[in-house]
Symmetry: C2
Subunit: 356 residues, 2 copies
DNA sequence: GAAATGCATTGATACGTTTCAGCTCTGTTA
DNA sequence: TAACAGAGCTGAAACGTATCAATGCATTTC
C-alpha cells in the first residue's frame, strides 16, 4: 500500500534508480550515502527524498565487493545455548553495535567438521574477522584463515606462540581464590571436584588450588581430596559426593568445577543428611545467574563474561584497523570470588573426627 | 610457510587466478564450483588442485551480487542472553546448518531504535529472511521489509491479520495446564503471580487459568488471588509472597509467571516459615534447566524452545523457496506440564483453616 | 580582465562472481 | 559424405556499488 509502485515487485531499487529520480549521477548518490558533506544541501535533500520515495536499500554485497569492507563479524563458539558463551556473545554484540557492525554466531558442538564448515562459510562471507573458541586441538585451519587476511581472536583460549590474539581468564587464579578463601576460614582438608585434566581450565584450577594450599603450609598430596568427573553436570556432582564423604578423613569443604556440579553436590550432601555450609562448605564456579537465588545462595567464582566478549570484539576491531602492522595481544582477565552463604568456617576444626 | 606465494600477501586469489593456474576459463572454474557434473573429470581435478594450491576462497559478496542469493538469515530477538531466546536461536541455527546457511543474531534490548537499525543492516546485508520478535508494537517497518521482498517470520508473536508468518506458543493453554493440575490435586484457592496484562503472554495465561477454574466449577473472581509484578524476577517474586499469605483466605498454591519469580516465591515462603509443597504448592513457567536440580525440583510449564526456533527457520526457508506464491502460515506450539516436587495435594482441604 | 582557486558534480572503471549464447571437437546417424 | 548431436569449454555481459580523474562553474586573486 505504501511505497510500492505498480512494478516495484520486480526488483529492489538500485542506486541508479535513485539517481534518475533525483536527476543526478550515481556518483552523487553514492556521495550522499558515504560523504554527505561533499554534496550541496539542496542536492542532498533531493537525493534523500528519492531514497525514501523508492524505499531504496543499498546492497551490502555490491558495496563489499567494490569497497572490500564488510559489516559482519563471525563468532564461532562451542554452544551458543551455554550461558557462558551467551554472555560472551552479548558482550561481543554490544561492542559491535557501537560500530554498526553485525554478529554472525555459530555453534560447533565441539565438532571439528562443523567448525571447519563454519570457518569456510565465514571466510566466503568475507567477514571482518572471526572470534573463535577452537573445537579441535589442531589450529592449522584457523591459522590458514588468518594468513589469508581475516583477523582472528581466540576466545577463552590462550595462544602459546603469540601468533594470534586471545582473550581468556586466569583459571589458576580462580582455583587459588577458592582455596585461599576456604583456608582463610580455617578449612584444613579440602575437596576438589574437578573435570579431566585434559581440559586446560580444569588443570589450571587444580594448579591454583594446590598452589594456595602449599602457600598456607598445607600439603596437597595429603590434604586435598580429588574426585574427577567426566560429565560436568548436576547428576555427576550428586554422585561424586559419595567419594568425598566415604574418605577416611573427609574434607570440610568442596570446590566444584562449575555451578551445576555444585548444585549436584548440595543435593548429594542433602542425601547424606549433611547441611551446607554447617557440615560442608561448597564453592561453585561460573557464578551463573540463578545461584544467587537459591535457598542457600552459592559462593562461586565469577568470570567477567560480558567483558570477555566486549574485549575480544575490541581486540578484533583494533586488529582490523591496524592492518598488517598489527601486533598480536594476549588479554587475561582475573576471576573474582563471590562469597555467599554456602561457605563458612568449618564446624569442628582439625582432626577430631569422632561421632555424629 | 604453506600456500602463500611471495606476493600472495597482496590479495586473496580470485576465480581468475584459479582459471589461469589450471589453464581453463573462469566459466569452467565456476562450473567446477557450482555444477561439477558438467565438467570433465580430469579438468575438474586440475581445477580443484589449483584451488587448494592457491588457497582460493570464493567471494560471497560477488556471488550474492550476481546470483542474488545469500547464505545468511537474520534473527532479531529481545536479548540473546535470555535462555528462552538462546534455545530458540539454537533451534534456528540447527535448521540453518542443515542447509549450509548462517545465522546473524541481533539483540534489541526492546529498543525500537535498535530494532530499526538492525532491520536496516540486515536488509542491506541481503539476508535470505528475518526472524523477529518485535520490540515495538508498530509493525510498519517490519511489513515494509517484507514488502520489499525479504521473507519475515514472527517469533513468539502472532500476527492477527495473517499478513505474515509466525511461530508462537499457546499461552492460554499454559495457564490452563497449570491451573488444571492444581485443581486435579484438590486445590480450591489458587494464587496467580502474573506480569502486567499489557504483555500478551501474561494476559493469555491469566485467561487460561480462569478458564480452567470455571471449567472445574470454581469462581475466579472469588477463588483466584492475583498479584501483579512489574519486574519478572526473583526479588519481585520474593516480595510478592507477602500479598498472598496476608490474604484473608490465602491460596494453597501459587502459579508463577516464570521460574525466576517462582524461585523468589519459594524464598519468600521460606521467609514466612512455610514449606514447599507441604504448606504451599508452587508452579513455575519456562522450565529453565536448573529448576530440575533444585533441592525441591520445580513443577513448571515447558515451552518447546528449540522446536520453536527449528520450526521458524523451516517456515522461513519454505517462504523463500515458495517465492511470491507463498501463503503465510501461523504455527502454534502447545506447552507441556512438567510435574516435579514443588506441587502436591493441599495439606488441609477446604475451609478448615485451623491449627498446624 | 585573466588566471587561479575551490566546490559540486559527472562518468567511466573495477570489484569477483554467475550465466548463457556460442564455439570446437568427437562420435553417430542418415 | 554430410548432417547432426552432444559434451566440454570459452568469452563476454551483468549484478550494484565505490572511487577518482576530469569537468564545469562560480568566486576570488592579482
Amino acid at each position: 500500500m505504501c511505497a510500492a509502485d505498480a512494478d516495484a515487485v520486480k526488483r529492489r531499487a538500485s542506486i541508479k534508480d535513485v539517481a534518475a529520480r533525483a536527476g543526478v549521477s550515481v556518483g552523487t548518490v553514492s556521495n550522499v550515502l558515504n560523504n554527505p558533506e561533499r554534496v550541496a544541501d539542496d542536492t542532498r535533500e533531493r537525493v534523500r527524498e528519492a531514497i525514501v520515495a523508492l524505499g531504496f536499500v543499498r546492497s551490502g554485497a555490491a558495496r563489499q565487493l567494490r569497497a572490500g569492507t564488510s559489516r559482519a563479524v563471525g563468532a564461532v563458539v562451542l554452544d551458543m545455548a551455554n550461558p557462558f558463551f551467551t554472555d560472551v556473545a552479548r558482550g561481543v554484540e554490544d561492542r559491535l553495535a557501537e560500530s554498526d557492525r553485525i554478529l554472525i554466531l555459530c555453534s560447533t558442538d565441539e565438532s571439528p567438521q562443523r567448525e571447519q564448515r563454519y570457518l569456510q562459510l565465514l571466510e566466503e562471507q568475507g567477514v571482518l574477522g572471526i572470534l573463535i573458541t577452537p573445537a579441535s586441538p589442531d589450529m592449522a585451519s584457523i591459522e590458514a584463515v588468518q594468513d589469508r587476511g581475516t583477523a582472528v581472536v581466540l576466545l577463552d583460549r590462550r595462544s602459546k606462540d603469540n601468533e594470534i590474539c586471545s582473550v581468556a581468564v586466569d583459571d589458576v587464579k580462580g582455583g587459588d581464590l577458592a582455596a585461599r578463601h576456604l583456608i582463610d576460614m580455617g578449612h584444613q582438608r579440602i575437596g576438589l571436584l574437578n573435570g579431566p585434566s585434559s581440559i586446560r581450565q580444569c588443570a589450571d584450577r587444580r594448579r591454583g588450588v594446590r598452589r594456595a594450599m602449599r602457600a598456607a603450609g598445607l600439603v596437597p598430596d595429603r590434604d586435598l581430596i580429588e574426585v574427577i568427573i567426566e560429565a560436568l553436570n548436576t547428576d555427576a556432582g550428586d554422585a561424586a559426593v559419595d567419594g568425598f564423604v566415604r574418605d577416611l578423613r573427609p574434607p570440610t569443604a568442596i570446590i566444584c568445577v562449575n555451578d551445576l556440579a555444585a548444585l549436584g553436590v548440595v543435593r548429594g550432601l542433602t542425601r547424606h543428611e549433611m547441611r551446607v555450609p554447617d557440615d560442608m562448605s561448597v564453592i561453585g564456579y561460573d557464578d551463573l545467574d540463578f545461584t544467587a537465588m537459591l535457598a542457600t545462595p552459592l559462593t562461586s567464582i565469577r568470570q567477567p563474561r560480558h567483558q570477555i566478549g566486549y574485549a575480544a570484539a575490541e581486540l578484533l576491531l583494533a586488529a582490523v584497523a591496524d592492518g598488517p602492522t598489527h601486533r598480536h595481544r594476549q588479554v587475561l582477565f582475573q576471576p573474582e570470588l563471590v562469597v555467599r552463604d554456602s561457605s563458612s568456617r568449618p564446624a569442628r576444626s582439625g582432626r577430631r573426627s569422632s561421632s555424629r
